[in-house]
Structure formats: structure tokens, C-alpha cells
Symmetry: C2
Subunit: 291 residues, 2 copies
């Protein structure tokens, strides 16, 4: 299903995508999910897609070639907002062309787009564009977007991006760790990855790399993060249980466990099995102090 | 949507559930998701549910009260497999009673069940039961199940449970960290939590606790894990970019970035905007060495 993530910092933008696509477990392939539109000195735009691959590719095609009746294209849009509208319009064109035919096969018109970058005269901007062609923009309180299999990699981003300022390189590192967690937990996301780091005001592509299984930096992040996490896990205190007359409780947990709600009582009567009758009705009263 | 996780080790079982339920953001409540069936010395069974709450509660009710025509109940089933079938049959009863009425309101019959424990004479067993009443069993190669909002908390379990043996208390710690990651990233999962640790051969409830926001142990795990993760993140080397004549590449990444595929070329002709004509067609050739 793919996983793409982008972050917007004061100093620039970070974009990271995988390249796995699948139409069922028999049909797993590699297709790039990142497209870069560069006019050095004027604009640097990045688009990443997730969802139906044919829709994603059609969107890219339309954006690359189409000229609006008013002459507007991705290359001469005057603001990122206008450029995002052009992408949205491209999605709608594909919808008009393909949606009902897909529906005949029970396939939903499903695509997710992350679109960001900088046009000369404006600051860096980052958008998430939906299947309907509408979009939202990232801001300080919500500085990142994810599309595709986003849940596995979200906790680490929430922990790192919260609060303190980080550098572009730290954000790239965070995105790579987020991607690593996702790669380990879901087969529909796979190498190679595309990583693009955009420094504000460069208006050109300066930092881009395709990361595959031989990339030493990614390998060191992946194994380093894993082993350090395991060390931290071992350093954290195990729970200590102490027993009371009624039931064992978790240390440092002064609350009495509210067992009555959790335990299902044995029924008192109405069972044909005679051995039932003698058994306790409230397990709580007979629980012996164990361990 | 809830999150429940259970793990099966050689030494016993761990069960952890949250208690948030919601029917839209205006209707968020607390309902316990864990039910414990104990007949001390004979059996200890635990059931956790996710999905449609009315279906979950009906299942619990049927299991607690219903006697099969052959006299079988959850209290006298001779094996965990038989007990799991009884749970499956309960789900099917609820389906027969409720599914089409729900459908009239566009609601799918959706429930997930984790069911495990020990009956005297057998080893510990753990099952995941589906909406159709069918189920699968956990084994050494796949020792844990999750239901509900499972993705956020999966990476840490995959990292910790892989390979080495861990103790029941370490597994409980792992489940709590997995839950903590989920709580931070998704509002449909919330405190309090129910944690049950079952030691093999006890055939009784010995370790159970309800964890709320005042539980010192959970608070220390939550903040400790977060701050240590941030330390590990800072200790990991940031990426180093080195520039070449053509484009900056990621350090230790000997592969040349395959830009040709990522970059979308400016169209050579056909645009009304005259300024287009002078612009470069392949951004690659003019990218200057930056930084």
C-alpha cells in the first residue's frame, strides 16, 4: 500500500517515500512514488502518491503536460496554493475519466497525495491532497503528513517532532526511522526509498538519494535503532507484583483492582452438569495469595 | 476503536486491553473490554473484544448463560479448542439475531475477539476469533495477537518478541509500551487499561490490575520510554551529505541517485508562457554543488 511521509520545518522540507506496489500478494512490484518538478532558481516542487497506482500515474502525466485554458501549469503557477489546486484539478480529471469504470470492478477511486515545495517569493509550503481534489496545508501545530500505511510509523514521529525544534537532518533521520518501523511490520511497504531534503530558499534540488538494501547509513539506522531500543527496553524496570489477602496487585498501583466487573461469575443453577453445583460463585472470594 | 493485545509464552499468557469506545467524536465512553472466566483449579479463560460494542456485549452474555443442546458450556468445555468453538458459536448467534438489522443502518457486523487461557490437563492456548466465528491459534512462530487499532503498537512488539525468550513480566512491559504508543497516536484508544498476567499451571487468577492515569508504574514506563527514545534518537548519527559535481549524495551511499526517473522534465514546447522556452529541460545538468 506504500508509505510516504513529509515534514515542514522552519528551515525547509523533508520528503520520504517507499516504492512497493501490490495488487494482491501475487503481484508485488516496484514503482517510484516521488516526482520532482524543478526549475532551478524559480521553483522546486515534490509530489508523492499512495493508493491506486494507475490513478497516481495518470495524475503525474496530466500535471506534466496539461495546460489550463487560462494558461496555468505547474511550471508557472504563482503560488504553492495555486499549484496545489492544479494537482487537485488533475485528480478530478482522472476521476471523471476513470471512476465509474473502476466502480464496475468494485474498485474505489482511492488516491492520497502529498505535495510541497517552494516557489520563488513564497515560503516553503506543504499540502495533503485527497481523492476529491481538495486539500489541507501543514502548519506549525501540524507539521507533517503521512499517506499510505501510516500508522506503524506515527508514534516515533509524534515523540520526536513534539515540542523542540529539530534540524532538517534530524527530521530526515526521524522519517527514516519511521519508515524502518513500517518496513518491519508490513509487507506492502518496501525498499528502495526516495529521500529528498529541501533547504529553504535553495529553489533547486540539492539533496536527494535513492536508498536500497545496500545503503550503509540506512542499515546502520535500522540495526542501531533496533538494538538500542532493546537495550532501553531491558533497562526499564519490570513490573513488580505484590500479593494481598485477596489478589495480587501491580506494584505502585494503590488502586484495588476492580475485579467484580472483569470476572464473569459461574452461574448458580440451571446447568445439567452436576459438578457445577459445588463450584464457587464468586472466584474473588477464594483466590489464594499466589507467587 | 479500542486496542487489545495478548501474548503466549512458554511460561504463560499476557492480556492487555484499553476501555475506550466511541460512536463518533461526540460519543466517547468507557466500557471494559476484558472478561475473565475463572474456576479456580480447573480453568482460567480470558476474552477481549474490539469492534461493535453491542455485538461484543451480546457475545459475553450468551457465553455466560447459554447451554448448548449437548450440555456444553464455557465452564465444562474439555479443551480450549472446544471453548473457542463455543465463543465462535456465540458470535454466530449474535450474527443471526442482529446482522441484517445493522445492515439497514449501513453498519457492518464487525467484531474481533482474542480468547485464551488454560483448562486443566492442557497447556496454555491463545486464539483470535473473527466476525464469522472462525478462529486461528497462536504458536511459537506467531506468539501474539492484536485487535482494534493494532498498527501503532505493532513495531515495538515485533522488535522485542523476535528471537529471544522473554519472561512474563517483560512481555507485560512490552504490551504496556505498545499500548502507550497507541494511546499517544490515536484518540479512539484510552485509559483505563486492564492487564492480566497468567502463569502457566496456576489455573486461577493471580495477577490482574486496572491501570488508570494515576498508576505510577505506567506513568514511569510512559515517560521513561519517551525520554530514553529521544536520547537514543539524538545519539544516532545524523545523515551526512557530500556533494559531487552533479548532485549532493547521502554519505555512505555509493549509489548514484537515479534522478532521471524522479525528475519531471520541463516541457520543451507548447506553452503559451514565453519564459518557459529559455528554461532548462533536464534540471540535472545544471544543478550546482550546494552546501
Amino acid at each position: 500500500m506504500t508509505y510516504c511521509v513529509a515534514m515542514r520545518l522552519k528551515t525547509g522540507l523533508v520528503f520520504l517515500s517507499d516504492s512497493r506496489t501490490n495488487a494482491g500478494v501475487d503481484h508485488v512490484s516496484t514503482f517510484r512514488k516521488m516526482s520532482v518538478f524543478e526549475n532551478s532558481g524559480d521553483r522546486l516542487l515534490v509530489m508523492m502518491t499512495a493508493g491506486n497506482l494507475s490513478i497516481s500515474q495518470s495524475i503525474k502525466q496530466i500535471i506534466s503536460e496539461h495546460v489550463n485554458p487560462d494558461g496555468k501549469t505547474i511550471w508557472n503557477a504563482e503560488s504553492m496554493f495555486e499549484a496545489a489546486q492544479i494537482v487537485g484539478a488533475a485528480i478530478r480529471s482522472v476521476y471523471e475519466r476513470d471512476a465509474s469504470a473502476l466502480q464496475n470492478f468494485g474498485i474505489d477511486f482511492n488516491v492520497g497525495v502529498i505535495f510541497g515545495g517552494q516557489i520563488k517569493g513564497e515560503r516553503c509550503r506543504l499540502f495533503q491532497i485527497y481523492s476529491a481534489g481538495n486539500f489541507i496545508e501543514a502548519h506549525d501545530e501540524n507539521p507533517y503528513f503521512q499517506i499510505g500505511e501510516s500508522k506503524y510509523g506515527k508514534p516515533i514521529i509524534d515523540r520526536v517532532l513534539a515540542g523542540s525544534e529539530i534540524t532538517l537532518d534530524q527530521a530526515a533521520k526521524c522519517a527514516l526511522i519511521s519508515m524502518d518501523s513500517t518496513l518491519r511490520s508490513n509487507l506492502s511497504v518496501g525498499l528502495p526509498l526516495d529521500l529528498l531534503v529541501y533547504e529553504s530558499e535553495q529553489l533547486a534540488l540539492t539533496r536527494f538519494v535513492t536508498i536500497d538494501s545496500k545503503n550503509e547509513y540506512f542499515k546502520s539506522i535500522s540495526s542501531g535503532w533496533s538494538s538500542r531500543l532493546r537495550e532501553v527496553f531491558d533497562e526499564i524496570e519490570d513490573p513488580v507484583w505484590y500479593t494481598t489477602a485477596t489478589i495480587a496487585e501491580l506494584a505502585l498501583a494503590p488502586l484495588k483492582p476492580d475485579l467484580r466487573q472483569a470476572l464473569v461469575s459461574m452461574p448458580k443453577a440451571g446447568f445439567r452438569d452436576k459438578t457445577m453445583a459445588a463450584l464457587q460463585t464468586l472466584a474473588q472470594s477464594e483466590a489464594t495469595a499466589q507467587k
